[in-house]
């Protein structure tokens, strides 16, 4: 057998102190190449906004010859799913020193990181991944959870909009109002992540210094009635304390403000803007972000099923049903309805993907129970608007 450099000499462990965290973060900054200084500034602002995300136990290091050659940064995060708060692992940065290339440091590091996360009792990990990494992650048991969807409003409809709303810059004193708008608009969506004051201040700082998505508030005399967050070509967030602003108006106003043509809203299915559009019978298209997407992996299936049972129990009560249970035998997930009807919704490797889809894509479990093995696209009510160009559904 021919010896190779291979993975020998790669040691993976958690960071032990702040000094190692700092060294790990320096490697992360360097991995961004020419964007080093900008990324360093952004990441340092992020770290200051929530220092708890940067504890040594959140950094898994790969060491080669005693030097840090790879970093997986993750942190526990509360995610609200169907009204139930779950503590999941968010995968943040993952990088390998180019000097250690072709030693499969990343592969070993990722596997070891998943073991550490599992040992901390976090049942699911999730994060964003570039499309080019699909095979890498999917072969290691990750599934696309596809929470990014885009609503594209036809240009002609935008230009036709003459309505106007006044936009004002981020005001740190208004963070409570922003949070109320965010909670009111997104709090019932699936995969809602509550924000701290520090996170709001970070959003404002990044927007003001043009290091992150732009931010504007709008609304009344007594305080903001909502806000909008956008990047170069897409509205990323729109939240309201009261009635939602018509999304066509919103896009037109943001477009005028920025002198750019912005036609896309990246919103969850159950966002009020989507309903406003559907009521207007506009033609929309939903698609995943083409070059990136959310991926997830179930690390503890029993804990994940327990989470789904809690979510499902809430919905059953809300729907006035007597009982409806989620069970699994081996690798088959089954809905059992009170009438004695059993529906096997997913089996084998698809079972995990199904559970993750339910958790992150906002498919209501009751809809899912009747949707059988149809995809979320098929389960979603088409009568409201046209669905087109759905990637990898």
């Amino acid at each position: 057998m021919t010896p190779t450099a291979g993975t020998s000499g790669v040691d993976c462990r958690l960071a032990r102190d702040q000094q190692e965290v700092d060294a790990a973060r320096e490697l992360i900054f360097r991995s961004f190449g020419p964007s080093y200084f900008e990324i360093k500034e952004i990441k340092n602002l992020q770290a200051a906004a929530d220092p708890s995300e940067h504890r040594p136990e959140n950094y898994v290091l790969a060491l080669v010859d005693g030097r840090i050659a790879g970093v997986m940064h993750y942190y526990p995060q509360d995610v609200v799913i169907g009204g139930v708060t779950a503590r999941l692992a968010t995968l943040a940065e993952f990088c390998v020193d180019p000097a250690a290339a072709r030693r499969f440091v990343g592969l070993r590091l990722l596997r070891r990181a998943l073991e550490f996360i599992c040992a901390r009792g976090l049942p699911i990990c999730w994060g964003a991944a570039r499309r080019v990494m699909d095979n890498y992650y999917f072969r290691l048991g990750f599934s696309g959870v596809g929470a990014y969807c885009r609503v594209v409003v036809e240009r002609s409809r935008q230009t036709a909009s003459r309505a106007s709303i006044a936009l004002r810059p981020f005001n740190p004193e208004h963070w409570v109002a922003y949070d109320q708008a965010h909670r009111g608009t997104y709090g019932r969506t699936w995969g809602y992540i509550p924000r701290s004051e520090g996170k709001w201040r970070l959003i404002g700082e990044l927007a003001t210094r043009q290091l992150g998505p732009r931010f504007a508030e709008f609304g009344g005399e007594t305080g903001p009635a909502g806000y909008v967050l956008w990047n170069d070509d897409s509205v990323l967030e729109a939240a309201f304390t009261g009635d939602p602003v018509d999304p066509v108006t919103l896009l037109a106003v943001v477009g005028r403000e920025t002198c750019r043509s912005i036609s896309t809203l990246a919103l969850p299915f159950d966002h009020p803007c989507v309903h406003a559009l559907s009521d207007a019978h506009l033609t929309l298209s939903y698609r995943r972000v083409p070059d990136a997407g959310l991926i997830g992996k179930i690390l503890d299936r029993e804990a994940t099923l327990q989470l789904m049972r809690e979510v499902f129990a809430n919905r059953v009560v809300a729907a006035g049903l007597a009982s409806c249970r989620l069970t699994h035998e081996g690798v088959t997930v089954t809905w059992s309805l009170s009438a004695g009807l059993r529906i096997d919704v997913a089996a084998g490797p698809r079972a995990d993907r199904w559970l993750l889809s339910l958790l992150f894509q906002g498919v209501d479990p009751l809809d899912a129970a009747t949707a059988g093995d149809r995809t979320w696209a098929a389960a979603f009510p088409k009568q409201y608007f046209t669905l087109s160009a759905i990637d990898g559904a």
Binding site: M1, T4, G6, R111, N135, Y136
Partner: protein, 76 residues
């Protein structure tokens, strides 16, 4: 089987099959990075109808080791 494995490696790693030999590894094939390695594992699994254990993925890092693993899995 040897030629079949070489053909799969050739397709994924972009080197002629005749250049794949006992010494072939990421050290000798510059394009053999972690992304291509994962594509190689997927291609081998498809070609030979096998499932490589996750813990073995990072150890299949030379032509002889790949051949050995594929043979073992096919024998099971």
């Amino acid at each position: 089987m040897d030629e079949q494995v070489k053909r799969v490696m050739s397709n994924i790693l972009g080197v002629p099959p005749e250049q794949i030999d006992e010494n072939s590894s990421p050290d000798t094939i510059p394009k053999w990075d972690s992304l291509r390695h994962m594509n190689l594992i997927l291609a081998l699994e498809q070609e030979f109808s096998i499932t490589v254990k996750d813990e073995d993925i990072a150890t299949m890092i030379s032509y002889p080791l790949i051949l050995l693993t594929v043979r073992e899995l096919q024998a099971q």
